[in-house]
Symmetry: C2
Subunit: 197 residues, 2 copies
């Protein structure tokens, strides 16, 4: 058994590198060097670079779950307000690095899904869980009559997340929060229209 202290820095520094430079541009040697670990230790912890990618997705998604719990999962707020609070939080976080890195889930959906079946299948699971969390609040808002049932809650939640991922791509290209603000001001209320029925 390798020491657990080697795995943790590999994931932590690997996440930094892959989030900024992409998966293909982040070589195992560079990841090990950034983590201060011998290159050989990488394959003690991960059967393949794809398996490492799956571990990075899990680490990143723990942060997604925490952000969802703090907003969408806040039972003290009205369901529609919880959805707004979630995207407001994401918008503030994207500003921290001037919109450069975007979302690791979206980035790897774009880059690795044609070539890595392991990462593609794992991304599908994470995307399902993410969509379900938002759909729960949308369904509550529909049941409460504050959001019109123009489509099933799951469809609306998936389109919200997809629209957000696309807005993040444009924010990366323009290095600007404007696409995220347009999402919040126009796309979100267009999909989640006020009122019952």
């Amino acid at each position: 058994m390798p020491k657990p202290s080697t795995r943790e820095p590999l994931v932590e520094h690997g996440l930094e590198l892959v989030h900024r430079h992409g998966f293909g541009s982040s070589g195992v040697a560079a990841i090990a060097a950034a983590a201060g670990a011998p290159k050989g230790s990488f394959y003690n912890h991960f059967a393949s670079k794809d398996a490492f990618g799956v571990a990075l997705l899990d680490r990143y998604f723990a942060g997604v779950r925490a952000a969802l719990a703090a907003t969408v999962g806040d039972a003290s707020a009205a369901p529609l307000q919880r959805v707004h609070a979630y995207f407001a939080l994401l918008r503030d976080r994207a500003r921290e690095d001037s919109h450069a890195r975007g979302c690791l889930i979206g980035n790897l959906s774009a880059e690795v899904t044609p070539s890595s079946e392991a990462m593609r299948a794992h991304l599908a699971e994470l995307l399902d869980e993410w969509t379900e969390a938002i759909a729960g609040a949308v369904a509550e808002a529909q049941a409460a009559g504050t959001v019109r049932a123009t489509a099933p809650a799951e469809t609306l939640a998936a389109l919200l997340l997809d629209g957000w991922q696309g807005a993040l791509l444009r924010a990366k290209v323009e290095r600007s929060p404007a696409p995220l603000d347009a999402f919040r001001a126009v796309l979100l209320p267009s999909l989640l229209q006020a009122g019952p029925g």
Copy 2:
């Protein structure tokens, strides 16, 4: 001057490789080998791999322009119908490779914008041109009273393209046309609402 016959296969085969495997995973040696060109010839034609990436974006975007001209630019159709026709065409094309590769513009927006200023700046120009083309049809539809002016035509066009890019990411992850169908059935009519005002 290098022979022009070497540059063309590098761009053609490089586009294939980068569209499928990403920019970082497509090495210069592999691109040259796929093109049947000596590795040294790559840097006769391109000052850097980033400059090659810019050339790939231009090649790919020529296809975007052609698809726009055939649909959004079809003066014989009503403006809202032209927008619908454009996304119907893209949806059919995405099916050709089982939604694996997605859009090169979206993929490179995700992967290379934090590390390549040359590609980021070029993507910003292409995204502007793309958005303007759609915005023209949306503005016509608003002027004709078939689409409500809920927001400026440019904002709606940008959100349509962003929503489409996000739906393509989910289609890549799920290897399914369902996200593209949901975009066309729910997101597009939510953003471009029927009627004047």
